[in-house]
């Protein structure tokens, strides 16, 4: 078992092998499809595979190689896509029975950008239903299992993408992060998980959960691969009005430059990140890693971010409010989980179909959102939470006047057991699952970029989180590269 697998730069190597004729894209595609399907029997990390697309792209790439035509940045790199992003002509279930029969009629922007750079799309990864969960257990297609131990959850909601990368089923994967859905599974699987700034990556073709919080990001085994993928998926689009038109560019840095950069970085460490509920072992590992960075010249600055005390409460008002509105579109007119001939034609069927099509957690969040938006409660909950969000934004901007990076744990715990927090036979308090995201949600509320990097020397995977100011991904990834060089190499 390898609790920490980071720091394998893979994308360039794959591309070079294809460009140099050492490997054909066809061989890579077939081998990866075969291996991913075999391992899927154990991990259930994929909902479906895209054989036809992968093989067709491979043939096109091999033709380009033989004709000596230029190849894309991701030529021959096997990549998986979370099943809430659209790949044209393939299913996109978002882990829900509601979308079991849905076939996408266009590519998500991020997917299109990957295809334009000659990536091999291997398949669609399993996830919590509509990305609502922190364990990848609420999927209609069964739970995802962590590759470090099959009785453990991989985190969620992008658990399938995390396991696909951690187990070598693919080289990289896309996920989405609304309250921690990339970083927490990256922490639970020892991968590198990036949630970019809100507005950095087009959300066109991402099945919406909470539109002011959702952002597409990456799973990789190194920061270098993460930076390369971000360059590709952050390209310009006309299809998302919240896209900020800021394509990311990654300067190639050598080892000396990376170490120089870390010697100049100011890292803020909020006390609130080390509160009640945090595993003592994870706390020690985070503090230990920060000490090593300090030895390398980084300034470690204690901080207080009082907003972290109520960020999760704020999130559990705003997110369900947006969920209840976004999921109103599942109206059985455009999407339906039941065979259409069996549907009768009255409005009551609409209620019945939504009770069959949505799982318990989704229903709970729709109803909670409906409650906080309903007349008489909207001022008390929704408006107060919107004000709290302003405070959270302010707290972070004040902090970033004094520091470049904020660091802390990603998750308060190691991967927990399958069925430990969701078990149909037991009465479970939903709040115990929500607390898994206590260190990640504030970042989404403030629209910041953040990355989960593996901590070394632990019995099970856990991550350290670096957070930067809006659109400061370059600074974030420079610090992350420094972390790799100093802590992981």
């Amino acid at each position: 078992m390898r609790a920490c697998l980071a720091f394998f730069i893979m994308i360039k190597e794959f591309r070079q092998n294809v460009v140099g004729g050492k490997a054909s894209a066809r061989e890579i595609a077939s081998q990866y499809l075969k291996n991913a399907k075999e391992l899927n029997k154990e991990y259930n990390s994929f909902v479906s595979f895209c054989d036809a697309l992968a093989l067709e792209s491979a043939a096109r790439i091999d033709k380009k190689v033989s004709e000596k035509k230029p190849l894309g940045k991701l030529a021959g790199v096997p990549i998986a896509i979370k099943d809430n992003m659209l790949v044209k002509d393939f299913s996109a279930t978002a882990g829900s029975k509601m979308l079991e029969h849905y076939v996408a009629s266009f590519d998500a922007d991020a997917v299109k950008f990957l295809r334009d750079e000659d990536a091999l799309i291997i398949g669609k990864t399993n996830m919590d239903e509509f990305a609502m969960g922190s364990s990848s257990e609420t999927s209609h297609f069964g739970p995802v299992k962590n590759n470090v131990g099959k009785n453990l959850v991989p985190g969620g909601s992008s658990g399938g993408s995390a396991v696909a990368v951690a187990s070598g089923q693919v080289i990289a994967a896309l996920g989405s992060d609304t309250g921690g859905s990339i970083r927490q599974p990256a922490s639970f699987t020892g991968t590198v998980g990036l949630k970019p700034t809100y507005g950095r990556v087009s959300r066109s073709g991402l099945i919406a959960m909470a539109s002011s919080l959702d952002q597409i990001g990456t799973f990789t085994t190194s920061v270098e691969d993460c930076a390369l993928l971000l360059e590709v998926i952050s390209q310009d689009t006309d299809f998302d009005a919240t896209y900020a038109r800021k394509t990311f560019h990654w300067p190639q840095l050598d080892k000396k430059e990376i170490l120089q950069a870390i010697a100049q970085v100011r890292i803020g460490v909020p006390d609130e990140f080390f509160g009640e509920g945090l595993s003592a072992e994870i706390a020690r590992a985070v503090r230990g890693a920060l000490e090593m960075l300090e030895h390398a010249g980084a300034q470690i600055i204690p901080l207080s971010l009082p907003c972290l005390e109520y960020a999760l409460a704020c999130y559990y008002v705003l997110m369900p409010a947006e969920v209840s509105s976004n999921l109103a579109r599942y109206d059985c007119i455009r999407y339906s989980p039941v065979e259409v001939e069996k549907m009768s034609t009255t409005i009551h069927d609409y209620d019945a179909v939504r009770s069959i099509g949505f799982g318990k957690e989704v229903q709970r969040r729709i109803m909670l959102g409906t409650y906080v938006l309903s007349s008489g409660y909207v001022d008390k909950y929704y408006l107060e939470a919107q004000k709290a969000r302003t405070k959270i934004l302010q707290d972070f901007s004040d902090a970033f006047l004094r520091v470049d990076i904020i660091a802390g744990p990603v998750s308060p715990t190691f991967p927990f057991g399958l069925g430990e927090k969701i078990n149909p036979k037991r009465i479970n308090d939903p709040v115990s699952m929500y607390l898994a995201d206590i260190y990640t949600v504030a970042v989404n509320l403030a629209g910041l970029p953040a990355i989960s990097l593996p901590l070394p020397g632990l019995k099970l995977p856990a991550g350290i989180q670096f957070i930067a100011g809006q659109f400061a991904e370059e600074q974030l990834l420079r610090a992350a590269r420094g972390y790799e060089e100093i802590i992981l190499s």
């Binding site: 409460a313 007119i333 009255t346 709290a388 405070k391 939903p430």
Partner: protein
Amino acid sequence: MAEITLSEVKQLARLSRIALSDGELHAIKKDLGSILAYIDRLQRAVLEGVKPVSHISGLTNEGRADEGKATLAPSEKMIDVFPKKKGRYACVPRILHHD
């Protein structure tokens, strides 16, 4: 903070357009109660004089020329995904009845 009542939960299910059994309504009442109790932490925030935020990345509206462009997908593709259709039309549930 007042606890959520069963009749409120029934009303929420109706507004949310989700049919729930009595057992499900009771279970969800308990869950919502526990979540709302946690949400009470919002009161720890000092929010006097703070303005609510509606957009976080400071973007402003931008206009563009009103010109036709290729759509995301041909309309046939869009119509294909409707579960029940007649020709180019989607079938919708009846909302008016004449008995």
